[in-house]
Symmetry: C2
Subunit: 359 residues, 2 copies
């Protein structure tokens, strides 16, 4: 195993679209959605075992989740868990991780991964990750993983692959934000477009240089604290300076501007598990198209529902089609699958009416 | 208060149509459905306070519920709770009560009441009960209470009132089992038809004679044990003989055959609360016609639902119209209101698939 390889796992999200399963104090990345005994976060770490040394894994999160992470990943030392003092989206998060790792190992090759995605073909994934590390070890590139699309999804960003470099590696021609359905169909048909997975690979110098060139305001903040990184003084510096960073995604801040962006075109059964609908898509279904996660369900005259309950609970339903039924004991959600984008709004309304109790 | 007045309250039913609230070990009559602090059974007893002496109330139930009854009605002595060793419908139950009370007081005037009905206008009800007692005290009649119908209900039996005797008291012309909707509309329009409420009044001799004339097989069983009633030997006699009784309702066994049947035509805001739909009808609703029993509900784009949950639970739903949503923590029911008659079948299927755990 290459000791220069690092993995930065972003696990500070709140996952409100998965309410009521995902709660402010227990977002979806910490939940064992499939009843396998491992949370999405634990599976994210399990998947890179043997590729990145355990001690080179860095968790980016916030204070609230430090305890859960330590509990779910006892192999990590406290200094592998970096606590963001404020929510500033992915660019400041990735910048801090880069300057921190630079202080630990100036030769570092970094993988950045979300903590809440689902990957079905682990062997193929591991193969792609290894190839990605090899690619950045010999190319001064900002590498992103692009997922081969299987449907005209309008909820993701797309990457257009340009000139082939070798194998599955290509230069990036364009980034496109969430397209409308017509455009998504064109993208799917063309074969050149890939889903933007939010998984990145780069050497520590490549990302730091890219930050300096494309997001100099953020880079200058971390350059100012470079000597304090990975020392006892880092915490104070971050508390004082991290909140000053602009709230911006790595895509906007760097990827869409930098000239040396490449894409590895991959296909390993990926889902961002961003919604109940995507959980439904990846769940086993019975003949009526009903998926049950946890508990027991008896569904009469009902099709294409996802029923998720905790514990040994029984759900009896009739005349429900294309619904999400999610129960956590203290909260029950029943909404049509095609309204899953509205769940956030419903949760906001819950907050307005009942405060934080159910959030 | 007249010490000859007795009230027999039947409270052995299982109430499966109210699943999952109503359970085999806690049927609906023992539940505080409206959050008033009193169960339907307790309200049934409260309503006759001052009309029937506490010590003249007899509970007909089965062994399983003796503890709940003693707990909910601490004013009752153990010998006021008669435990049926087998389910044999209302005729054997009412027969036992009659022979038992005959041994206690041969002058007894008996009211028979269900334990799980809702009555909204208590003063009018008490007035009707007093008049009913007065009627049977001077008439050798089997008196039933007939409820003035307010809709063409197909779930109830109907009583056709005949010749007027005095005031609201009439001879009974016919009994009709649950009619189809066309017939129910004719009944409603005619003004002669009343809902069969299952509330009866008779002197102890009148009912015993009616049993001897119309259900001699059942009468002969209790005549055989008449000397043992209300003695220490009663229990053994009942254990041995009650199960030998035919399973038959009082309507079939006696009321539809006897010549001296009368009806008191009443209107005091009655519901048999037989179903979630009737609970909905009697619940407060918001502007969207949604009724909430317990917990909190946020319903978007949803009309005319009843949402019943236990404890401080939150329900968020969207796109639900005319549904029953009932949650008890270990079980959740979601069915259209117009399928409430099928809930029994669903509960049977639950039993087939999962055994008694959720029953």
């Amino acid at each position: 195993m290459d000791n220069n390889r690092y993995c930065v796992i972003m696990c500070g999200g709140v996952g409100s679209r998965f309410w009521p399963y995902s709660r402010a104090n227990m977002p979806k990345q910490f939940i064992d959605f499939f009843g396998t005994g491992r949370s999405l976060l634990q599976m994210s770490v399990d998947r890179i075992k043997g590729i990145v040394p355990d001690e080179n894994i860095i968790m980016m999160t916030n204070e609230q989740y430090a305890g859960i992470i330590a509990q779910q990943l006892p192999q990590l030392k406290p200094d592998q868990i970096l606590l963001e003092p404020a929510r500033r989206n992915t660019a400041p998060c990735i910048a801090w991780a880069a300057w921190h790792i630079k202080a630990l190992n100036p030769q570092a090759q970094i993988m950045v991964a979300p903590s809440d995605h689902l990957i079905l073909k682990t062997d193929e994934y591991r193969d792609c990750v290894n190839k990605a590390f090899e690619f950045i070890e010999s190319n001064d590139s900002l590498l992103t993983m692009g997922i081969k699309p299987n449907r005209p999804e309008t909820g993701y960003g797309y990457i257009q692959a340009g000139k082939n470099i070798h194998g599955d590696f290509n230069a990036v021609k364009t980034f496109t934000e969430k397209p409308n359905e017509d455009l998504a169909r064109v993208f799917l048909k063309s074969g050149d477009f890939y889903w933007n997975s939010g998984m990145f690979f780069w050497s520590v110098d490549t990302i730091i240089n890219a930050m300096r060139n494309n997001a100099p305001d953020i880079a200058s903040i971390f350059d100012g604290g470079a000597q304090l990184m990975a020392t006892d003084a880092e915490r104070d510096f971050i508390e004082a300076n991290y909140p000053l960073c602009r709230n911006i995604s790595i895509d906007y801040a760097v990827m869409e501007k930098a000239p040396n962006v490449c894409v590895e075109c991959v296909d390993f059964g990926w889902s961002d598990l961003g919604t109940w609908g995507s959980l439904y898509d990846h769940s086993e279904k019975n003949e009526q198209g009903n998926a049950t996660q946890g508990g027991k369900a008896l569904l009469f005259n009902s099709r294409d529902n996802i029923v998720a309950v905790k514990g040994d609970k029984l759900v009896v339903a009739s005349g429900l089609n294309d619904y999400i039924v999610a129960d956590t004991g203290d909260a029950l959600l029943i909404v049509p699958k095609n309204e899953e984008q509205k769940i956030r709004n419903y949760v906001n309304e819950v907050k307005v009416q009942f405060g934080d109790k159910f959030i």
